[in-house]
């Protein structure tokens, strides 16, 4: 009986219809077999006769296919195949992105944030031979979805320089771990105690290493990928997938500067003061 049922219904391409029709034909066969059994036949013979009375399953199937919209069945099959293909693509993309994200996250966790003298020439990695004074880090400042903090700051001096340099690490983090990096753009600037303003520029390996006068340089935390044809470092940015990171910033300060405000004005704003008079120690 099952063979007859599956063969007859197999000609219906549209799966929901195929299931319904198979159920209806099964009920008919069961009714027929029961009636034959009650008339005196044993069960096996009753089932065989019931199936014989149904006719050729191929003939019935072809008639059913004609009624049950074959074009709908083709659309159904194609839609099913398309869904499976999309699902496979999503899984592959998810695995690939997850793996890439994990690799980046591991690298990020192993990063070395520059400290002390390393801040001065960052990201050029040239050593600094002058002296510096450590300054007190700031408290945490909440701005929109992010929390910012100056985790380290130094005031560096070198006899060959006209001005001292204030160098510091600005860190950010967010409990909304799915967010990316906050936009710094041109929205971060500095203003010192004498009213001098410093706009930001972003230091990359292929830009001049010497900052423009009265500008504040900003660098991501990098790791060395290799060297280019000019024997310069080629750098890759450490990137966390969980809305956290740091920048290294640096600006020239006049001798009379007492403090510098780091000001961010975008959708939200914050203002962090670095007091140049409050040292943590010389080095």
């Amino acid at each position: 009986m099952t063979d007859w049922l599956y063969e007859a219904s197999s000609y219906i391409y549209y799966e929901p219809d195929r299931r319904r029709v198979r159920r209806e034909l099964q009920e008919h066969l069961e009714d027929a077999a029961l009636a034959l059994h009650e008339s005196g036949l044993d069960w096996d013979s009753a089932k065989i006769k019931a199936v014989e009375a149904m006719g050729d399953p191929k003939e019935v199937g072809m008639l059913l296919r004609h009624v049950h919209k074959p074009w709908l069945g083709w659309i159904y099959k194609l839609a099913g195949m398309f869904c499976v293909a999309c699902l496979v693509l999503c899984i592959i993309t998810f695995i690939n992105n997850t793996w890439t994200g994990l690799r980046f996250e591991l690298e990020y966790l192993r990063r070395e944030v520059p400290t002390g003298a390393e801040l001065v020439n960052y990201p050029s990695f040239e050593s600094f031979e002058g002296t510096y004074t450590s300054l007190a880090p700031s408290g945490k400042v909440k701005c929109g979805d992010y929390t910012f903090q100056i985790t380290e700051a130094i005031l560096a001096s070198d006899p060959s320089w006209e001005k001292d340099r204030l160098c510091f690490v600005l860190s950010y983090s967010s409990p909304r771990f799915w967010l990316g990096k906050p936009i710094l753009g041109n929205y971060l600037r500095a203003e010192d105690s004498s009213g001098r303003e410093y706009d930001i520029y972003f230091a990359y390996p292929n830009l001049p290493e010497s900052p423009t006068e009265d500008m504040m340089s900003c660098s991501d935390i990098y790791w060395v990928e290799g060297f280019d044809s000019m024997d310069k470092h080629t750098l890759q940015v450490y990137r966390s997938s969980f809305a956290r990171g740091e920048w290294v910033l640096s600006l020239p300060v006049e001798a009379d500067t007492q403090w510098v405000d780091i000001i961010y004005e975008f959708d939200r704003s914050f203002d962090i003061r670095i007091d140049l008079r409050k040292g943590g120690g010389k080095a």
Partner: protein, 117 residues
């Protein structure tokens, strides 16, 4: 008397609609009723009933519903619609006309009733 199946195949829709016009039925019940009423002359290949029923349903001439049997199974019952009743009427007239003309050819025209004085 055994008859040529081709004679039956063209009339199946008429027979099915006529049965349903008397009350709702399920598929196996239709097969049994048809065989009983025709003294086993009309014995369809039972599987071929369902394409006819499904086609009538897709045309709106019959409608179906699932009902629970005393044994707890669900069974599909069919009943005729207004559209199906109209189709039955057309098919009946068509059959009447067709069978009269076949009879005229095979047995000769039926004698006309004598005029009443």
């Amino acid at each position: 008397m055994k008859i040529d199946k081709s004679l039956l195949s063209g009339s199946t829709t008429l027979l099915v609609l006529k049965l349903l016009s008397e009350g709702e039925m399920y598929g196996y019940e239709m097969i049994q009723t048809l065989a009983k009423r025709s003294d086993d002359t009309f014995k369809l290949r039972e599987g071929t009933l369902y394409p006819i029923l499904h086609e009538l349903e897709s045309r709106g001439c019959v409608e179906s519903s699932l009902q629970l049997t005393p044994g707890g199974r669900q069974r599909k019952y069919y009943r005729i619609t207004d559209k199906g009743s109209l189709l039955l009427k057309d098919k009946t007239e068509e059959w009447k006309y067709f069978s009269e003309k076949v009879n005229d050819v095979v047995f000769g025209p039926a004698p006309k009733p004598a005029p009443v004085n």
